[in-house]
């Protein structure tokens, strides 16, 4: 029987080279990313473990991204602990509060490569699947054990194959596609599973668009979402990770999938989607929500704060003003993204339109700072989660949408189909 991408990548990281769905295996990790959870939770656990030295200071990335720069005294303390840890342990890759969001920064640094096993102390670590990696989120204790040993146990996941063919039409983005897919799967439709995206739509997507897809698979419970390498990934690796040696992994033709979903966008064109509160899997076509008044439009996050996202939003906002009384907050995903946006004149477009541009951070997406919602407020957001209270007050409401829909809605002050502006 053939093997899936998840099985093959995991197998290449075990001592005996074996990994079949359902097995529990011990696997060597290529890269571990930890963020503020290092200072707040992992360091105390390491002390309890009576730990001395990390397994390999070149294979760990520490990122201060969630509350960057510090939003309060506690986050300042967490950042301070992270800096000390990096120094004491001689960690080679450290991204302090100026860098941006981990899931954007790691690929920009050339630290993510095809066929690797990458773990992050953050659920959206599935994002690196866009690069053909087996990447999954874990939390503090597992991260502490990996820091000490460089390996971790995994239950080898079954895989769901999702094949998408056809073109996305004008103003329809990969965010709309993933909102549609996870709404079809439901919040636990891919729990414990690997999602393998295939088909010409995915093959033609730029890296950023692919990252949005893989990023949100976790909202359906997925463990990882390794994609096949395409021309854009090859170009990315040649440009940003030229010193890295890598080989791609491809699934066997007779690989066994527990489920297959087919999307034919020629036959059934996709519309812009909005996920209504309080689940990312509550996707509806935007026309059903048109006219819902908003207080805030948020463009940012590891899901949709990349240069392609800012470009489409700027295209819509160019020469226009946002509705009076509405706040537009733009948080580029990384410093590199910010600089690109600056060079291309996008930052000026946002500010001229009445928007606020913040530094790169998880910020308001996690209810941290720079755009937290008050009681009863409504936000249309390009982020990944609209759980009750996620971005602030428990009575605030979040509608998830693409950057295009966020920009169009900011102009009108109500949820708006981006094809109409």
């Amino acid at each position: 029987m053939g093997k899936t991408l998840a099985e093959k990548i995991l197998a290449s990281h075990t001592a005996d080279g074996k990994a079949s769905a359902g097995d529990i295996v011990e696997a060597k990790v290529d890269l571990l990313m930890v963020h503020e959870v290092l200072g707040s939770r992992i360091i105390p656990i390491l002390k309890e473990m009576e730990f001395n030295k990390v397994w390999d200071p070149t294979k760990i990335v520490v990122v201060n991204d969630h509350w960057a720069p510090a939003s309060d005294i506690n986050s300042a303390e967490i950042h301070r602990r992270n800096r000390n840890f990096v120094r004491e342990q001689g960690i080679v890759h450290f991204c302090d509060v100026d860098c941006g969001i981990s899931h954007q920064v790691l690929p920009e640094m050339g630290l993510v490569a095809p066929a690797e096993l990458i773990i992050g102390s953050d659920s959206h670590s599935t994002t690196y699947g866009a690069f053909n990696a087996f990447s999954a989120g874990l939390a503090a204790t597992d991260s502490a054990l990996i820091l000490a040993t460089g390996s971790c146990w995994f239950r080898v996941p079954e895989s769901i194959r999702i094949e998408v063919n056809g073109n996305l039409s004008r103003m329809v983005m990969s965010k709309d596609l993933i909102l549609k897919i996870i709404s079809d799967l439901g919040p636990d439709g891919a729990n414990y599973k690997s999602i393998e995206f295939q088909g010409d739509t995915i093959e033609q997507m730029e890296v950023g668009e692919r990252m949005t897809m893989c990023n949100m698979t976790v909202e359906a419970g997925a463990k990882c979402a390794p994609m096949l390498v395409n021309a854009y990934v090859r170009k990315w690796m040649d440009t940003l990770a030229s010193s890295k040696k890598w080989t791609e992994t491809i699934p066997d033709k007779d690989a066994e999938y527990i489920d297959t979903y087919l999307y034919d966008l020629q036959k059934t064109p996709l519309e812009p989607m909005v996920a209504i509160p309080d689940s990312p899997t509550n996707g509806k076509p935007v026309r059903e929500l048109s006219g819902v008044p908003i207080d805030q439009a948020y463009l940012g996050s590891c899901t949709n704060g990349r240069i392609g996202d800012l470009e489409i939003a700027a295209k819509i906002l160019r020469g226009k003003k946002i509705r009076q009384g509405v706040r537009l907050i733009v948080t580029p995903a990384s410093k590199q993204t910010y600089l690109m946006a600056l060079e291309r004149g996008l930052i000026k477009i946002f500010i001229d339109a009445g928007g606020i541009v913040t530094n790169s951070t998880c910020g308001a997406c996690v209810g941290g700072h720079l755009g937290v919602l008050g009681a009863g407020e409504v936000c249309i957001s390009s982020t990944n989660r609209n759980f009750k209270g996620r971005m602030g007050h428990q009575n605030s409401r979040i509608y998830l949408a693409s950057p295009a829909t966020v920009a169009a809605s900011a102009i009108k002050g109500v949820i708006t189909d981006p094809r109409s502006v």
């Binding site: 529990i24 503020e36 959870v37 707040s40 939770r41 656990i45 309890e48 473990m49 009576e50 509350w67 939003s71 309060d72 506690n74 986050s75 303390e77 967490i78 102390s121 953050d122 659920s123 989120g137 874990l138 939390a139 503090a140 204790t141 597992d142 502490a144 054990l145 000490a148 146990w153 919040p187 636990d188 729990n191 414990y192 909202e219 419970g221 463990k223 689940s279 996690v366 209810g367 941290g368 937290v372 989660r385 759980f387 009750k388 209270g389 996620r390 602030g392 428990q394």
Partner: protein
């Protein structure tokens, strides 16, 4: 300290499907460095009285997909800190499931448990047999016995204690 795995008796707090980690502990409290402070905000959104009324060994009962969303280990930690004896649900989100056993919070899967137990009932959970008994009735609900690996973690008292035991043997 290994838990009594055969008999956890307490009051049932019943929740619905898809209780995500933001409902267990909201993101705004994650920078708190002291778990006892953080635990005061457990289930603040879905059950504001929980943190002040929960007693040692009370049992959290839930429907499908308990603990989805963020990977935050603070979610099982605040339950443990609050005194929760175990969580019994119809299914768990994968990261929460790992985290629970890693920190020493027992988790048991029993089909339909969210519909069969009423809020406030006293229940006894036997983790070794995978059963839940509702006091005042003859009802014993049967679930999946715990996987061997998870039992080992619980018996050791969590993943850190397990690691130290293993390190001692090396």
């Amino acid at each position: 300290m290994p838990k009594n795995l055969e008999s956890i008796t307490g009051k049932a707090w019943v929740f619905g499907n898809n209780i995500d980690t933001d409902q267990i502990i909201q993101g705004q409290y994650l920078t708190l460095l002291d778990y006892s402070e953080m635990a005061k905000h457990t289930f603040e959104i879905p059950r504001p009285v929980f943190a002040s009324k929960v007693k040692k060994n009370d049992v959290v009962i839930a429907g499908r997909n308990f603990g989805g969303g963020s990977s935050r280990e603070e979610a099982p930690k605040v339950l443990l800190e609050s005194g929760v004896g175990c969580v019994v649900a119809e299914s768990f989100a994968r990261i929460f499931y790992r985290n629970g056993f890693n920190v020493g919070l027992p988790l048991l899967i029993i089909p339909n448990v969210g519909k069969l137990v009423k809020d406030g009932e006293t229940v006894t959970v036997n983790l070794l047999e995978g059963t839940l008994h509702i006091h005042g009735s003859d009802d014993v609900l049967h679930g999946r016995p715990l996987p061997e690996r998870m039992l080992k973690l619980l018996k050791a008292g969590g993943a850190v204690a397990w690691y130290k035991q293993m390190a001692g043997k090396r």
